[in-house]
């Protein structure tokens, strides 16, 4: 058993650059952060602050130029990180030829489980994701919210060390988004996964996360960090609370969106 204090994820001085045409651009410049076990951390920052690059690095899809990524205290290279986290993007990426159950099982299948076992596991969880009765439907037959919930199920089911969300509500309409945020907050209470959520929606970050990290515009670095003062479990009514409003204002200010420049 690893000691409880070891962070799930530890990023130390991550530098990541990429080529765009003839330009040599720096996406991340010495970024460091930690995600504790069962901690929900949100990353906010303006477009181009390297948030998605960061998730790609944690997922093992790209290699950082320098810096260390530790999972459960162990330094890892990109190859070793593949299969350690569950990644979910803004696009649901459901396979059109698979039913809801088949799509939900995909994460388990990719992790090595047989298709029938994976689908059996997925089928028993459909109800928790509001997909009961839609197990045999194809993605094209589902609403946007249901498709995204199917993608959440695919992400959660393999129970990986880290859950990575890259603007998972970005493609949804405002009402569906608000519904799904409340639903995800309730789901997290049951799952207690270690989550790294990338978003540019400050309210979403405050409502869902334990801690919010603000990144500087490119190159990305940690500009500001806030421990959310809302208690758990989160409920929809909290968005009217004074804590929520204060935290939101603090973050907007840190992002330079309240007219006051960064400290």
């Amino acid at each position: 058993m690893r000691p409880a204090r070891t962070p799930r994820l530890e990023l130390e001085e991550i530098v990541s650059t990429y080529e765009e045409g003839a330009n040599h651009l720096t996406a991340l410049d010495g970024l460091s952060l930690k995600v504790a076990d069962a901690e929900f951390v949100a990353l906010v920052g303006q477009s181009g602050s390297g948030k998605s690059t960061l998730l790609d690095i944690v997922a093992g899809l790209i290699t950082q130029d320098s810096g260390t990524v530790r999972l459960n205290g162990q330094p890892t290279n990109a190859e070793q990180r593949l299969g350690r986290s569950a990644y979910m993007q803004q696009r649901d990426l459901l396979l059109p030829w698979r039913t809801t159950t088949g799509n939900a099982a995909l994460g388990l299948e990719a992790s090595g489980m047989s298709r029938s076992d994976a689908e059996q596991r997925a089928a028993t969880e459909l109800w928790r994701f509001g997909l009961e009765g839609f197990g045999d439907a194809y993605p094209a037959q589902l609403s946007g919210g249901m498709r995204q919930r199917a993608a959440f199920l695919r992400t959660i089911l393999p129970r990986k060390d880290m859950v990575l969300f890259d603007e998972p509500f970005g493609a949804l309409d405002a009402l569906t988004r608000s519904d799904l945020q409340a639903w995800l907050a309730a789901l997290w209470e049951q799952e207690r996964s270690s989550v790294l959520l990338v978003t540019h929606d400050v309210e979403e970050a405050v409502f869902l996360a334990d801690r919010v990290i603000v990144l500087t515009p490119r190159p990305g670095r940690v500009a500001f960090e806030l421990t959310v003062s809302l208690p758990r479990p989160r409920t929809r009514s909290m968005i009217a609370s004074s804590e929520f409003i204060r935290d939101r204002a603090t973050l907007l200010q840190a992002l330079g969106l309240l007219g006051t420049p960064l400290p």
């Binding site: 593949l82 986290s85 990719a110 992790s111 094209a140 990986k160």
Partner: protein, 260 residues
């Protein structure tokens, strides 16, 4: 009846109507002008030949049909197999794909006489020509279909820990199937042309062989009847590929991305 059902019905009615009008006009023109039968038979003459000569037509149609089926099956197996190999191996892609593309500048039917010399008058040269003409659309569509796989899906599966083989099985191959079927539909129609061409060059049976014989004997209605059978064969095979596609890819009818 639902609206899409009705529309499908209407979709069948209008070409049928047009064909009836054309055939009616054709029949009238031949009768009024008194064109001799050996020069241009009327639709009714062709119909009569279809009924009266069925003992000659059908066995020969069966020969052509076998050539097409065997050739098409070879084209599918070789085309999909090579397409996958070219996609998965960068070396093969560099070495083989340009050759495959370049090979298509060879007019394959022109190879038929050469094949006749090597393989004689039997089934083999026709099957080879058929397979060669059907191969190209299938291999190209296989490679293009595989290449069209959503990169984000590939990355998603990799991040879950899927091996390259598993990514292929779970995402790349299924992604390519609609494209492979589109290639197969084109291939099956031109396979019929390939088989007939092989027969025209030299054969002892088949509809192409029958056409040459009919022309030589001024049996023009029988020749046209053979052409009618060929079109029925092409249309039937084209539809059959569509049916197989619908059975194997049931999700496509829900897909928002429509194709023709």
């Amino acid at each position: 009846m639902s609206l899409p059902g009705l529309r499908r019905h209407v979709g069948w009615v209008s070409p049928l109507l047009l064909i009836t009008v054309i055939f009616g006009f054709w029949e009238m023109a031949v009768r009024v002008s008194g064109t001799p039968l050996w020069l241009m038979p009327a639709p009714s003459d062709v119909l009569r030949s279809l009924v009266e000569d069925k003992d000659i037509l059908l066995p020969n149609a069966f020969v052509t049909f076998s050539e097409v089926l065997i050739g098409f099956a070879c084209a599918v197996v070789a085309g999909v197999g090579l397409g996958i190999a070219v996609y998965r191996s960068p070396t093969l892609n560099r070495a083989l794909y340009p050759i495959i593309i370049a090979s298509q500048t060879i007019p394959i039917p022109a190879l038929a006489p050469l094949l006749l010399v090597s393989f004689g008058y039997g089934l083999e040269p026709k099957v080879i020509v058929t397979a060669l003409v059907g191969f190209f659309p299938i291999v190209v569509n296989t490679v293009e279909g595989l290449r069209s796989t959503d990169r984000d899906v590939v990355n998603l599966l990799r991040s879950f820990g899927a091996s390259r083989g598993k990514v292929f099985r779970l995402a790349e191959f299924p992604s390519s199937l609609p494209s492979i079927f589109a290639g197969a539909r084109i291939a099956v129609a031109i396979c019929v042309i390939g088989a007939v061409f092989g027969e025209l060059v030299g054969a002892r049976a088949g509809l192409g062989y029958l056409m040459i014989r009919a022309i030589a004997q001024f049996e023009t209605p029988r020749m046209v009847a053979a052409i009618v059978l060929l079109s029925i064969m092409s249309t039937g095979l084209f539809a059959a590929v569509g049916l197989v596609e619908r059975a194997l890819l049931p999700w496509r009818k829900y897909s928002t991305v429509t194709d023709s």
